[in-house]
Symmetry: C2
Subunit: 341 residues, 2 copies
Amino acid sequence: MPQTEEPARRATAAEVARRAGVSPAVVSYVVNGGPRNVAPGTAARVRDAVRDLGYRPNRAARALRRGSTGIVGLVIPRVANPFMAELSEAVQDAAARRGLAVLAAGSGNEPDVERELLQTLPRHGVDGLLVATVLGHADPPPGTAPGLPTVYLNAPFPVGGRCAVGPDATQGARLVVDHLLAVHGHRSVALVTGESGARRAGARELGWQQALAAYDAAPGPVVRVGWDRRGGSAAVAALLAGPQRPTAVFATSDAQALGVLHGLRAAGVRVPEDVAVVGFDGIEEAAYAAPPLTTAKQPVAAMAEAALDALERPGGPVEGHQVLGLDLVVRESCGCPAPPD
Amino acid sequence: MPQTEEPARRATAAEVARRAGVSPAVVSYVVNGGPRNVAPGTAARVRDAVRDLGYRPNRAARALRRGSTGIVGLVIPRVANPFMAELSEAVQDAAARRGLAVLAAGSGNEPDVERELLQTLPRHGVDGLLVATVLGHADPPPGTAPGLPTVYLNAPFPVGGRCAVGPDATQGARLVVDHLLAVHGHRSVALVTGESGARRAGARELGWQQALAAYDAAPGPVVRVGWDRRGGSAAVAALLAGPQRPTAVFATSDAQALGVLHGLRAAGVRVPEDVAVVGFDGIEEAAYAAPPLTTAKQPVAAMAEAALDALERPGGPVEGHQVLGLDLVVRESCGCPAPPD
DNA sequence: ATGAAAGCGCTAACAC
DNA sequence: GTGTTAGCGCTTTCAT
């Protein structure tokens, strides 16, 4: 066992100070790089002592004293929702770059649970809160602890009186639907989207309408289902039952689009030959669908950065709505050819 | 604005005490239900004051005093890994039931980052650590902070000197491969698994070998690739290139299996007609693959519960390895018929 | 049954 | 440039 045995009990700043022959204040100055200067020699002695003792500042004490913990809370519907998982990862990465840790909590899509999370997370001493809802952001938004910096993430619309960042959902929707119309000549494009009432559906729905309008195409059938794969799968019956079957489908989330693909396959309908399908989100899974899904990719990394920027802004996040553009990712489900090997 | 305006600054125990006409000690007794008794009338007054003031104990102060935070750390490779997302969700749910919060951090599959996380997470004041690696658990395991309760999650093998809980990976692998052999009569089953050196591959590989041996079938080709979809996809070339093409493929993760499906489709090979494919993990996505994937479902909820039980055990987690069984989930990729509608 | 008071470990204002 | 010291808000021992 050549390994140096670390002390079971953690060293305190006072112990470091004693060992370095200085006062605890100086230890603090050195560890935190301020607020007062320390002579180079002294600082070196302190750093040695810190190393020798394996000293790590006690987070709780620091938090108590400073009133901040270096932890941000993240409220999402479900981590197992693939898009939310990718967004979470982006948030974690961005947070890690800033020396912040992320306390994530899933609401299970339950507004009540979400409301409760907004109460309990602050109790865990988070410095700020990132709230990403699928259900759509109610107006007024559910109250977060007053005084706790909060930014709404993945918000397609402004959130009354709050700071929000999100995708330019209308632009993204227009992008994929326009592709269907312009490149593949579709004129009957169905919409598969979330339960009505969710404001989030609105922005994507609007993009679909706008794209259609630009080509003088009448809106195809609209079917409202859950935001997940199961919802998309369930939508297929309605899609196929209508008087005239649409030639293309725009699903407002990739999960729904994947469900649509699944349902279509079970029904023996070929994609893209019989019906073209496009999604929205740009999750990794979409690239591995059969056929690979054409979709609009959300700028998750940029959204995460923007949200943390807003959260860390001195003076707190400022009311407003920052939207980021999406990119079109063309694959085969729209009817485009597979890329040459 | 009928809403009661909450005070911007949080109420302290002292304020509650003043309002209830008692001492801070009594507030603590009431809030924590101990360690001393309080007269019912007094307790009621305190509870009223707590409600009126919207009092929430300051976590940092409590943590400082008690030396525990109610936060457990979770180290995973990537949240965007679908299986890890489902495992995370299970951990979060189980933790929430116990009043614990989860601080999750992804290592991006980098052993160095993981080692670093094991150092930094404790600094954030977590009470315990759950470590779930894909890379396989090195022996000896990377050192966590001494004295910090740690349990290895998703560990298919015992972790030297540590507490570990994981799937009975060998049994799970046997389950799916046996299905291929017994029900569908395959005798040439290829293995798609992770980079060699990862001990985790071993358990699943062993199950494959055992199932084959039980039927006197020779081991099919083995191809080692990354644990993700891309790995599975990349494995296809090797699978198809061999002297005699296997009639079935066992991929040791669903992600790999999904990649195999993708690669096979691109190569124009039909599943299950030309080649059967089975996976391992039981992620939601598998149900929506084309064709829907037959797989072994990991008991994520039970593993999460077991891990937290171990973590919370008075006296700390105890060395050992607890394995939980998997269930066979039969779908179409093995050659079984689609369930009647 | 209740209160007074010490102190968890750290930071930063203030004194030298 | 460095030391002294007063708390941050809470829990809990000890005294009443």
